[in-house]
């Protein structure tokens, strides 16, 4: 009897390779945005000189900052959003952290950020924001393991409102989602202005 159970699981190490950086502006505080684009809502600010822990990086809108012009954005879970990498000293113009979608949370915007959403991986909630009085609802469409989806999380509350909904994703499981706007319906909606979509993981 050869090699009994030779493929032994070595204990699944989950992705985490956070990097550190330092915010560097001309002196003003730096906006922290809900999604990696300058059009997204600023959820708070972070002071010049602050140390930040960057969980992941992704491309977004182009920004000109202290370190030149670039499209790289840093996701800082402790701040609840994204900051432009052009204002962060990381000792590198390139990537210092993994692509976003590593399971520490994420955010996206519909085309013009009339709809914004975040996935909170710590307890698997979608937070869906309507930021524009355009007559449309903001909606997240999401897909799950096994071939299921899309499911929807609607915010039909109008401009300036937030919807918060728990979604069932098993520990370590993936969820792929897009942020769109649409006319609310209980049937299959006609999604518009969707983001490209990102995969995140439940903690």
């Amino acid at each position: 009897m050869a090699a009994v159970g030779a493929l032994v699981a070595g204990g699944a190490a989950e992705a985490s390779a956070a990097a550190s950086g330092t915010v560097k502006t001309a002196g003003d505080p730096l906006n922290v945005r809900r999604a990696p684009t300058a059009s997204a809502t600023a959820v708070k600010t972070v002071a010049n000189g602050a140390a930040v822990t960057i969980d992941c990086q992704t491309t977004g809108s182009s920004v000109t900052g202290t370190y030149g012009t670039g499209t790289l954005w840093d996701y800082v879970p402790a701040l609840g959003g994204y900051i432009s990498d052009t204002y962060v000293f990381t000792n590198s113009d390139g990537r210092v952290a993994p692509d976003c979608g590593v399971g520490s949370g994420s955010g996206q915007c519909s085309d013009t950020c009339a709809g914004e959403a975040q996935y909170r991986s710590s307890d698997s909630h979608f937070l869906v924001y309507d930021t524009n009085a355009d007559g449309y609802s903001a909606v997240v469409a999401y897909w799950l393991k096994g071939g299921a989806g899309p499911f929807y999380v609607w915010n039909s509350g109008g401009e300036g409102t937030k919807a918060d909904k728990a979604v069932s994703v098993p520990h370590g499981g993936w969820v792929f989602y897009k942020v769109c706007v649409a006319n609310y319906t209980t049937a299959k909606p006609d999604l518009q202005s969707c983001s490209d979509g990102i995969t995140d993981f439940a903690a």
Partner: protein, 258 residues
């Protein structure tokens, strides 16, 4: 140009468009990165396992590492690094009697797809196989080699399937395939469709393509193929028996006229 290898062409059907599956066929630079720097990943076996094109002494084994299988860039959430993937073939589903094993590199150039062609298997035999990488073990697949040439065969039980548009029907028929316990599954094409359904919403099922753009690039084909492979019933049907697959017109751009 070398001789066209029929098995590799058919394999292209099985793996659809996840590029040339055999890492041995890749240029040397594709393997240049070492696995030492490969970042940790989430469970990459989200697309199941598959086997196909059985011969009396071999059968193709397949999987693809894709922890985030719907990502529009087609890379399935895999970092840009090479991952060592171990494989085993056994006589039993518990892998207490392993008959062959090995290790291959899964590389980004082939979207971390894995293609194994074992040699020296026994004809008309049932085997079980699985893969392992980064601390994760794949689901177990069952396959079967072809009878020896000229051997008397009392029975060949096969299922036939085709034309599985993601948006136009659920794949529950594969539950029947699994229940029928076939020796072989024949797939006659249109494993994926290059475009979304043209039917009205009322005629479609509630499933939609995650990346609905017409498939015009390798990345879009990989994302499309990956989404199909997330279906639990389809995965089960691949894990129960080897498949022999061919292309049909919708798998290529705009109903190619042949």
């Amino acid at each position: 140009m070398g001789q066209v290898n029929r098995r590799k062409v058919l394999l292209g059907g099985l793996a659809a468009v996840t590029a040339t599956a055999a890492s041995a066929a890749l240029p040397s630079w594709a393997n240049a990165r070492t696995t030492a720097a490969a970042p940790a990943i989430h469970d990459p076996f989200q697309l199941g396992v598959a086997s196909g094109d059985p011969l009396p002494d071999s059968v193709v084994l397949w999987t693809r590492l894709a922890p985030a299988p719907l990502d529009p860039d087609g890379f399935g959430g895999m970092p840009d690094a090479t991952y060592a993937v171990d494989w085993e073939i056994a006589n039993d589903a518990a892998f207490s009697s392993v008959v062959q094993s090995g290790s291959v590199s899964a590389v980004r150039a082939s979207a971390h797809s894995v293609h194994i062609e074992p040699a020296g298997l026994q004809p008309a035999r049932e085997y079980f196989y699985r893969f392992k990488t980064s601390g994760y073990i794949s689901p177990v697949g069952r396959t079967r080699t072809a009878p020896a040439a000229g051997a008397a065969v009392n029975q060949l039980k096969y299922c036939f399937t085709s034309c599985q548009h993601w948006e136009e029907g659920y794949y529950h028929a594969y539950k029947g395939v699994v229940a029928d316990d076939p020796d072989l599954v024949l797939f006659l094409g249109d494993y994926i469709y290059e475009k979304k359904s043209g039917r009205t919403a009322q005629e479609r099922n509630p499933r939609s393509l995650a990346v609905p753009d017409d498939a015009t690039t390798l990345a879009l084909y990989r994302a499309r193929h990956g989404q199909h492979k997330t279906d639990a019933d389809l995965q089960a049907a691949h894990a129960i028996a080897p498949w022999i697959v061919v292309f049909d017109d919708y798998q290529t751009r705009q109903r190619t006229t042949v």
